[in-house]
Assembly symmetry: C2
Homo-oligomer: 380 residues x 2
């Protein structure tokens, strides 16, 4: 198949998991939050934008990501999870970079490709999301059922604590809630897996893989790409950052910086859409943050290590925000299951509020991380 | 009756609610947390301890509190809530001060009186506690059912929001949970009220009131009370403070100072006693804090306004801690009601976790308030 002919000049092709693993997410990363730290620490071997035209810099980056994508594809028979993470990570990066540096590429080619990449990352992302959500919720249930002392006993290497605090109706409810969530999220995960397999076998996917394979050798550039990278790329990256900064500034950061403001939990018993409306601007910032990080990966201005670290930390925090928000809504869905026992429903209520507090905690962490750098009266 | 013969020299006897109202709690204070700010702001007309023997200073304080107690008693026919708050506030102060300055009084007289005062404050305290708990929980349910935007609309004076977010199963559960809590806590409150009335009519109470009436004219002092107040009272107050400081230092303040540590919510689904075990040391500090405040009211060293304010703030915070902890356990009790609907149980679970987070928030506030003043490596 065309998409398995990797170009010779990519050294990382020789091994499936090269130490530097350019462009791929680590297997532990579900590829969803875009926060793999290995991505930030990884040595980046493109010359800085000063060293060529914008087209050269962009092409070099896209080549590498496309090669990572194809490597993910060939890895699929061996380690599906790792392969999918590699596919998602590179697809997301290619799509993001084509968006940020849009004026440098042929729009008639880039736009449809971006749409297909979006379809793929969404489709492949569902299964690991359900898996992570279930793990997160079962962890939280354990945490809610075991006392601090018992946890400390575990931490200092004492004997394992007795099964969740010796029963009682609450512990029973927690166990049942866990079983219910496990059943529902495992079912969702299995369905997502089937959907992934179906997508990977589809003509739509093969066409996308062929388009990526073309990207390894040739990127359809716009005339603007002939200009020096140093003159055209930084303004585009800055624009992406400005969108991020504006969206972040519009968040209720001042309020979120007050611990225990109880904002995020407010919607818990309200209309179903309230939480979504409240969370949406934060999710939007998470996406803009990812774009800014990809932009920096390509154009990479000098001396921005601290700034990159800050973006990476902020992305981690907003990834947690989203995971908690989506976990909370999975719990709310489970609570609507007909004929559940009151003890189960009670445990789900506690768990829901707990996850909404994790949402609030993530907002607090983000506001602490972000606010000192916000331009304006505070930063002056 | 003997206990209604107020001594002539108390000017505040002339009106039922004198502006300074020495020794009484304000009616808004449920008399339970001991945090009435009017108590701190009130001009205290005893001469500082330097001005007499310890016996004189102590007698003056006890006279005033005893007079306040008797005033509360005579007020009972008119305003029961205010009268009870006055009775509780002065009984608590007399008991606390007899405890702290124990070596200055006749133990054979003070010990049984303290026990009776404890019985009275506990008995009278229950009704306002249940009332406050219900108000707190209904407020929390409202907060959990209404979105931030709706709340802001109310705050800026817009039209009142529609009844909790237009229904939905969650809102219905919240309404039912509210009705259940209202039923249970109103019943508890009614019972507590009957118990109060019964106690007030009992021979036991009349004996106590007579003992207090004696206190207005005569305090049985120990020989140590003949020493100058400045030499014997401050060490006793310092000892009370040392007990407080030690107990506070033994709290996990360092952990509590990290917002969103999720410690307090951990016990939510565990064995029923876990939360009690976790909360008990904090409740103990609340009581020691109250004793230290009463000690300061009597011996009143010069220039301690800031310190007193800190104690008052800490008491407020720990009062919130206790209110939230007890509200959470009232919710857990309600959740054990047989045959409740799952939606009701779910809302109760959310509410329980919310109150446990309020517990955590109070611990956070206390640790922030207390830690800078803790002697040790941090303070040096």
């Amino acid at each position: 198949m065309a998409h398995q002919q990797l170009p010779d000049r990519l050294p990382s092709q020789r091994s499936h998991t090269p130490p530097g693993r350019p462009g791929g997410s680590s297997p532990a990363d579900n590829g969803d939050t875009g926060t793999s730290t290995s991505m930030n620490a990884e040595p980046y071997d493109a010359t800085p934008p000063g060293g060529g035209t914008a087209g050269e810099v962009l092409t070099r980056y896209l080549h590498e990501r496309a090669a990572a994508f194809l490597r993910g594809l060939s890895l699929r028979g061996e380690n599906e999870a790792e392969a999918d993470a590699l596919l998602r990570g590179s697809a997301r990066r290619i799509g993001g970079v084509l968006h940020i540096y849009g004026p440098l590429t042929d729009p008639g080619w880039a736009e449809p490709l971006r749409a297909e990449l979006g379809w793929l990352t969404t489709t492949l992302g569902r299964e690991p999301q359900y898996a992570a959500r279930l793990a997160r919720l079962l962890d939280a249930l354990r945490r809610l059922s075991v006392s601090v002392e018992e946890q400390e006993a575990v931490t200092v290497g004492g004997p394992p604590p007795p099964a969740p605090s010796g029963g009682g109706p609450l512990a029973l409810g927690a166990a049942r809630a866990g079983a219910l969530l496990e059943r529902q999220l495992t079912l969702a995960r299995t369905r997502a897996h089937s959907a992934s397999l179906q997508a990977m076998g589809s003509a739509r996917f093969h066409a996308l893989a062929d388009a990526i394979a073309v990207l390894v050798s040739d990127v359809p550039l716009a005339p603007a790409a002939a200009a020096p990278a140093a003159s055209v790329m930084p303004p585009l990256a800055a624009q992406a950052y400005r969108l991020l900064a504006d969206a972040a500034a519009a968040l209720p950061l001042h309020r979120a910086a007050h611990p225990y403001n109880a904002d995020a939990v407010q919607a818990s018993l309200g209309a179903d859409l309230t939480a979504d409306l409240q969370d949406a601007p934060w999710h939007q910032v998470r996406i803009l943050l990812r774009l800014s990080r990809y932009a920096a990966e390509v154009s990479r201005p000098e001396g921005d290590a601290a700034d990159r670290q800050r973006l990476a930390d902020a992305a981690t925090v907003l990834g947690r925000h989203r995971a908690a928000a989506e976990s909370a809504s999975a719990v709310a869905t489970a609570a609507r299951t007909p004929r559940i026992a009151p003890a189960t429903a009670y445990a789900l209520g506690v768990l829901h509020a707990d996850q909404r507090h994790e949402v609030e905690a993530a907002r607090f962490a983000f506001s602490r991380l972000w606010q000192p750098a916000v331009p304006g009266p505070r930063g002056q």
